[in-house]
Amino acid sequence: MGLVLATTAELALVTTLLLILIATPLAWWLARSGAWWKEIVGALTALPLVLPPTVIGFYVLIALGPESPLMAVLQPFGVRTLAFTFTGLVIGSLFYSLPFAIQPLRTAFEAIGDRPLEIAATMGARPLDRFVTVALPLSRRGFFSAAILVFAHTVGEFGVVLMIGGNIPGKTEVLSTRIYQLVESLQFGEAHRIAAMLVGFAFAALLALLLIDRKVGTPRP
């Protein structure tokens, strides 16, 4: 139980950190670009929202398998396959939770509007300076929301993990797949405990989200 919990927490934490890094520039571009094709990218990043997790898992499994061109590139570095590894699980989770990072960040970036960035520009702030000193503080609520949503959503991941994880204890077994195993082997007592824990966690995460929305209000002119 402790091992499964640790794997789950580690997966959610690593996914959250990486996804914030990946989603920030992408959401910024989606919020501010005038390119006509940006909503095509927008729709692509939202796909995991509506696709069955098994479909995401299937493609990631193929891409991480020994036959894939991606793995051929990594072969010289001694990597033959990432299927059924923790790294593979992280890669799958990045796709699975991507929309939950993009959406709140994009909304927060759009809410800033042009004015504060223009004020900063006329005061001599270059683009990166403007992003760090104006955009980031004005969108911190979006970052809190994105982090909580990605973490909670990754903890709740099942289909993707099942496809690419292989449920190896200590490596790729997480709480959601443990429950499935417990129920299959009719151990309802233990399944109850984990299920209740996940309900409690999900509730706490959503409550935190709502409280942050009220407390960390962005100062508005």
Binding site: R115, T122, G124, T133, R220
Partner: protein, 210 residues
């Protein structure tokens, strides 16, 4: 030393800006015209906030034209926006810091600017807790502490009620007389232009009247 502006661009389905003028880069130039005449577009182009086809030359330095486009952060204009022109997440003092930290050394001294703007008692306030007149005075102080080479003002008094406007107009007349920076002042109000400006350009339907 002059400011030369030649703008020629379609800005909408039925609006094209064809404004050309050359004015001395000293004193206060009013750009006077009704709403929708294109005066804010001219000002934004001068600041580099919008990229409108044409040429802008400030004291012999090409800001725009012949494939050159100097971004706003390198033009060093002070821009006073219509409405609130302060960073909303910073206090008044922090807004002034923001400008000062990015400004080259210049003639405008913080204490003097604060004093002239009459904002000494407002320094710890957030912009959301300022009245319209207070916010505008703080915005102007912020613009000045950037040590601008050119001060651009977009209807700075239009968001105020008439009492505050009369107050601020007197104050602004004094202030602009004391600083040695060329000012471009956009307005639709003839009284403001007459009161503040040393030259006046009339703009209508995107064209400068002769």
């Amino acid at each position: 030393m002059t400011i030369m502006v030649t703008l020629n661009d379609r800005l909408g389905d039925s609006f094209s800006l064809q404004a050309a003028f050359e004015v001395p880069s000293a004193g206060v130039t009013a750009l006077l015209g009704p709403s929708g005449s294109g005066k804010t577009s001219v000002l934004r182009a001068m600041a580099g906030l919008d990229r409108i086809a044409g040429q802008i030359i400030f004291n012999g330095e090409v800001w725009q034209g012949n494939g050159i486009f100097v971004p706003p952060e390198r033009r060093r204009t002070g821009y006073v926006f219509q409405g609130v022109g302060l960073l909303p997440h910073l206090s008044v003092a922090e807004n002034l810091d923001y400008a000062e930290r990015r400004a080259p050394p210049g003639p405008l001294v913080r204490a003097t600017v604060i004093d002239r703007a009459g904002i000494a008692s407002l320094l710890d306030r957030q912009p959301s807790r300022l009245s319209g007149g207070e916010a505008q005075r703080a915005s102007i102080a912020r613009a000045l502490l950037g040590q601008p080479r050119l001060l651009l003002m977009d209807e700075p008094l239009s968001a105020l009620d008439s009492d505050a406007r009369a107050d601020l107009l007197g104050w602004l007349g004094q202030l602009l007389g004391q600083i040695d920076i060329p000012v471009f002042y956009v307005t639709h109000d003839r009284t403001e232009a007459a009161r503040l400006a040393t030259h006046t350009l009339h703009i209508r339907d995107g064209r400068i009247a002769p």
